[in-house]
Amino acid sequence: MPGQDKWLKYGFVGPALLVLIGLNIFPLVYSIALSFTDAELIGGEWRFVGGENYDRVFAMPHFAAALRTTGLFVVLAVGIELVLGFGLALALRERFRGKPVLLTALLAPMMLPQAVMGLYWNLVLNGQYGVFNQILGSLGLGQPQWLTNPGLKFLSILMIDVWMWTPFMMLIGLAALQAIPGYIYEAAAIDRASRWTVFRRITLPMCAPLLGLAVLLRATDALKQFDLVMAITGSNDAATQTLSALLYQVMFRDGAVGLGAAYSYVVLVLVIALASAFLRYMDGLQRREGEVGR
């Protein structure tokens, strides 16, 4: 019966839709509204303040610094992970004895929560009793203060992120390499192409779309970097404060919910703009590759 079917459809879709509206759409709309008020975390009455919060975001002295720190982190972390990850994928593409065990061991850092890893590395990198410095000291290499030296704090967080997420790039790289048909390499071998030419003209272009996707995924993740910063240096350290750490500071330490909401939307627009630009570039790259192939 058509009437019954209609209600049945609503009955099945309704609960999921309510959850979606309650947990996603409502907070989205509510936080946009909050961004135009002087709402505070500990309650009280709000006042409509127009675009004042958005003005304050750009006037905040630490916003530019956090933007620079985050930008530098994204470029360095994703760049190093891409090079190391793809390098590992190239080294591990062939079958060999013990490959499954080695791959599992390499993937392990990626499986654990970032906050847990941050706390773990906090102990490992401790300048006084950390095992990392004990090893360096026994090799006569000195004992740098990874967690307190202003020049090294950022590098410590970068190092941990690279350790955690290089396996992700390796995994995507392996998938991309395995998708390349073998006959292409055979044709290149017949044409006596050098290894560098094979890599540059076959391997890299054919892996580019998947690697591009991996870069986009990692970049959007790195832009949100918070757990490691909190665990290693806390959210208020000038050397390592990322956009997310600054947002936490504004929202939960200063209690400025309205300002925090405005700030989060500025960051959202930034991330969407970067992601769109990157996707357009990848699209253009694929179209050019398609034209060359014809």
Partner: protein, 202 residues
């Protein structure tokens, strides 16, 4: 005040003291400072009075307590933790109840009972001046003497913001990223901005 020669000297002195601390000490919070002292890793540490009853209970006569040292003619100390405050975000009725609670709590007989509890410190001047209080524990005497030289932190709604800024710039001075003078100048400028934004300064 923040940009004064005395403030710069004080921060410089703090930086020099940190150089005598174990490696990584600039990253130590009050919990780790307590661990370091109670495990015997350091001979001397700075911490909040609230932790001293626990230290005394565990270490007995092995631990002694003293006030913040003087620098020349100046001797001041800060108040760890906060006093009572009443939120203006709650109803008038709840604010009145809070005032009544504070009035009851401040009564001398209540304060005499309060100081018998662990970390039950008082600001009641009569109790602080009494020998019975000062001699009751190893830390009560220094505490009573410290209360005479307390310089409180900003008692304003923008406390959180002001504290976060102070933490950031003082941290940069201790890390050597900025000189004490530069750090204090930046700190004062940003505090000024926060207070003007909030309408607390013209």
């Amino acid at each position: 005040m923040k940009r004064s020669a005395g403030a710069v000297q004080g921060l410089q002195f703090m930086k020099e003291m940190m150089a005598l601390a174990p490696p990584g000490a600039t990253n130590v919070d009050y919990g780790k400072s307590l661990d370091a002292f109670m495990s015997g890793s350091v001979a001397m540490a700075m911490n909040y009075f609230a932790f001293y009853p626990g230290i005394a209970a565990q270490m007995g006569e092995k631990a002694g307590f003293f006030q913040t040292p003087a620098q020349g003619e100046t001797r001041v100390t800060s108040l760890g933790g906060q006093g009572f405050s009443i939120s203006t975000k709650v109803s008038a009725e709840q604010q009145e109840l809070a005032r009544q609670f504070i009035a009851w709590f401040l009564r001398e007989e209540v304060q005499r009972k309060w100081i018998t509890k662990p970390a039950g410190f008082t600001a009641n001047t009569a109790i602080l001046a009494s020998d019975s209080f000062r001699q009751a524990t190893a830390y009560n005497g220094p505490f009573a003497a410290s209360m005479d030289i307390v310089q409180d932190f900003w008692n304003v709604p923008q406390y959180n913001e002001l504290l976060a800024v102070a933490q950031r710039y003082l941290g940069e001075a201790l890390d050597g990223v900025k000189t004490p003078r530069q750090a204090l100048a930046a700190l004062a400028a940003e505090h000024e901005g926060i207070l003007r934004q909030a309408g607390a300064r013209q």
